[in-house]
């Protein structure tokens, strides 16, 4: 017990200088009208998910590189090699969806309970802004893997932003950092995703909680339970903790059972069929029904109207009635919108499954992604031969051997493409006479015997037999 009093002394010492006890009391002794409830856990779960995202996100920046030429390799490294990488990335991936779900559930609960009423307008308005930020997180985070789905999904997403009248084209250019989706776009999305949005969300979350504490919890929508009052601690804290645990177990299980996907690196020349993440699916489905100029309805009119109504809701609905059963229009509108959005998601999936052309293409893409996922990680080769490696992959020959780079590339090109003044191209050699593998090896020992003139050296005394063999094998693979 002597120890304990020392702890108490320390606590007192800190408290006298910080006021921590009063702050804790303020935080934990908040009265909750009508008592603690499971219905009130969603806000805390959202805060928890945000913390999880910040923690896992910061961890991933240890290895992630936000440039178009390395982003995908660095994500693959995190996913396939680094211990704990797959689980952290999986948690981050599924928590992003969980945040959207929880934000909608939190909003729906607040809406149904009429908790935006009675001087809580600003709590609500700040909350709606935060919902937009959560969607912004999804949009900017999706590109960061720089795989096929990321690249083409974002290409469509930014194009949609560009379709919006008046502000669209400028907005699209600012998003992309130019006219095309490039490494500059990736940098912007990265900065937005890891610096701007988290800072903004943290500030707004603080404001949201502050305003909420000022107004006090709204309590149940009917006044029957009003006499019962719990403090925030311990009962509501316990409910919140259990909800967090359930969500966390779900995230970890998903991350382990169904790892976050990572497809092959973005190939802008491919005909990849882009599909958005599920929370943008309703918009995707609506776009099918509004062709041409009418696309403005789902891309601009509908979101503006929907979020406009959400923002204005506490100012439009001034009645004091909070019981959802006595507010049939409000309740039915919510059910209609949520049901409609869910229906659109399922319809989009259903149509993809039943369109033979799309279904086949999507299945093939899925198989390609899974195949890539299973291949062991290959480090990206950087340095003297990077440019060659990148170019040669397209030729089907892989990176040029170092001996080629040193002795041959100056005249025959880094990629065997040749140089008009110095040396002929080396692709398609095997189709020519006197150019078998054996011939090519002999040429490197005595070029003059094959009638080759300067500047081709007569022989290569610096090259070992294995170097020569590597060069010849590489040349013969060039397409």
């Amino acid at each position: 017990m002597a120890d304990k009093s020392k702890v108490d002394q320390l606590v007192d010492w800190v408290d006298e200088r910080t006021g921590v006890k009063a702050a804790m009391d303020e935080a934990l002794n908040e009265p909750i009208r009508g008592g603690a409830r499971w219905a009130y856990v969603f806000g805390s779960v959202l805060l928890f998910l945000f913390v999880v995202q910040v923690v896992t996100g910061i961890a991933m920046t240890l290895y992630y590189v936000p440039t178009a030429d390395h982003a995908h390799a660095s994500v693959a490294y995190i996913q396939k090699v680094v211990p704990g990488g797959a689980i952290l990335r999986g948690i981050h991936h599924y928590a992003s969806s969980a945040m959207v779900i929880m934000a909608v559930v939190h909003l729906a609960q607040t809406f149904l309970y009429g908790a935006y009423k009675q001087k809580r307008e600003l709590v609500w308005v700040v909350g709606v802004v935060m919902l937009l930020i959560v969607l912004g997180f999804g949009f900017t985070g999706y590109l960061l893997t720089w795989d096929q789905a990321a690249y083409f999904g974002t290409k469509v997403g930014t194009s949609i932003a560009g379709e919006i009248p008046v502000v669209g084209p400028l907005q699209q250019k600012i998003m992309l950092g130019g006219t095309e989706l490039t490494t500059v776009t990736l940098s912007r999305f990265f900065t937005t995703h890891v610096f701007l949005l988290p800072l903004l969300l943290a500030l707004l979350a603080g404001l949201h909680v502050m305003l909420f504490r000022k107004a006090g919890p709204a309590g149940p929508y009917h006044n029957l339970d009003d006499k019962k009052v719990d403090r925030f601690f311990p009962k509501q804290v316990f409910f919140d903790s259990v909800a967090m645990l359930v969500v966390f177990i779900a995230l970890v299980s998903l991350a382990m059972k169904m790892p976050a996907e990572l497809g092959p690196v973005a190939d802008p020349s491919s005909d990849y069929l882009a599909r958005p993440p599920w929370y943008f699916m309703p918009l995707f489905q609506l776009l099918k029904w509004f062709p041409g100029h009418w696309a403005i309805i789902p891309t601009a009119v509908l979101p503006v109207v929907l979020f406009g109504l959400l923002f204005l809701l506490p100012f439009l609905d001034r009645r004091s009635e909070r019981n959802p059963f006595k507010r049939p229009i409000a309740t039915l509108s919510l059910l209609l919108i949520l049901g409609g959005a869910t229906g659109l998601i399922f319809l989009a999936k259903h149509q993809d499954r039943n369109n033979p052309e799309f279904a086949e293409k999507l299945k093939k893409q899925d198989e390609e992604a899974q195949a890539f996922f299973k291949v062991p990680f290959e480090p990206q080769v950087i340095g003297a031969t990077t440019a060659l490696a990148g170019a040669a992959v397209a030729n089907g020959a892989g990176a040029a051997p170092p001996a080629y780079v040193e002795h041959c590339a100056d005249c025959h090109g880094a990629n065997g493409q040749g140089d008009p003044d110095l040396g002929p191209k080396l692709s398609g050699l095997s189709a020519k006479p006197q150019r078998t593998q054996d011939d090519l090896l002999k040429i490197m020992d005595d070029a003059r015997a094959y009638g080759l003139k300067k500047p081709m050296p007569a022989n290569f005394p610096d090259l070992s037999d294995s170097d020569k063999k590597a060069i010849v094998e590489w040349m013969l693979k060039l397409k």
Partner: protein, 173 residues
């Protein structure tokens, strides 16, 4: 939501539910903490083992008696990449006898230069003779010689980095 610290007033409220909440918070933190810990630390502990032989050109091209600088390409495994980086070495030939030194000063890692018939490190004025023996300055040891071999009259070297600031030559990693 953290559980309250012990104060007299709150001891009463430190109920069963509070302890359970604390356990949940601790459990979640532990799962995240362990994974972030091994994520951050374990790649740092695995040693990159690229010890390739690099070519320094025909042995005949190395001048007699005078140090000559050559670049080698070393391959570094670093996270998601295999980085081909250039390193400079000093080659000294005395008839059949060849010595290849790294150009990294054993003192604090500056680049060693050759001046006439000696090696110097301009950072802190360390000096060595062409055989790599210390002639002055703060360097804790002679220049670090690298393993080499001659194949088909081509000189090859196995590049390595060594610990700095100690009197013994010890491979890094």
């Amino acid at each position: 939501m953290s559980v309250h610290q012990s104060t007299e007033e709150n001891n009463e409220r430190r109920s069963f539910l509070g302890v359970l909440s604390g356990l949940i918070a601790a459990g979640i933190s532990a799962v995240l903490g362990v994974n972030i810990g091994r994520f951050a630390v374990s790649p740092a502990l695995s040693v990159a083992g690229a010890e390739n032989w690099s070519e320094l050109g025909p042995i005949g091209d190395i001048p007699e008696g005078k140090p000559i600088k050559r670049n080698v390409v070393v391959s570094q495994d670093a996270g998601w990449g295999k980085f081909q980086a250039q390193r400079a070495v000093w080659v000294v030939r005395n008839g059949e006898k060849v010595t290849v030194f790294t150009s990294v000063c054993p003192h604090l890692g500056c680049t060693v230069n050759a001046k006439e018939d000696a090696f110097i490190c301009a950072c802190h004025d360390s000096k060595w003779d062409v055989a790599g023996n210390t002639q002055g300055g703060p360097t804790p040891r002679g220049l670090d010689a690298l393993e080499y071999k001659v194949e088909n009259d081509v000189l090859k070297v196995r590049y390595q980095d060594f610990k700095q600031g100690i009197s013994q030559k010890e491979v890094l990693g």
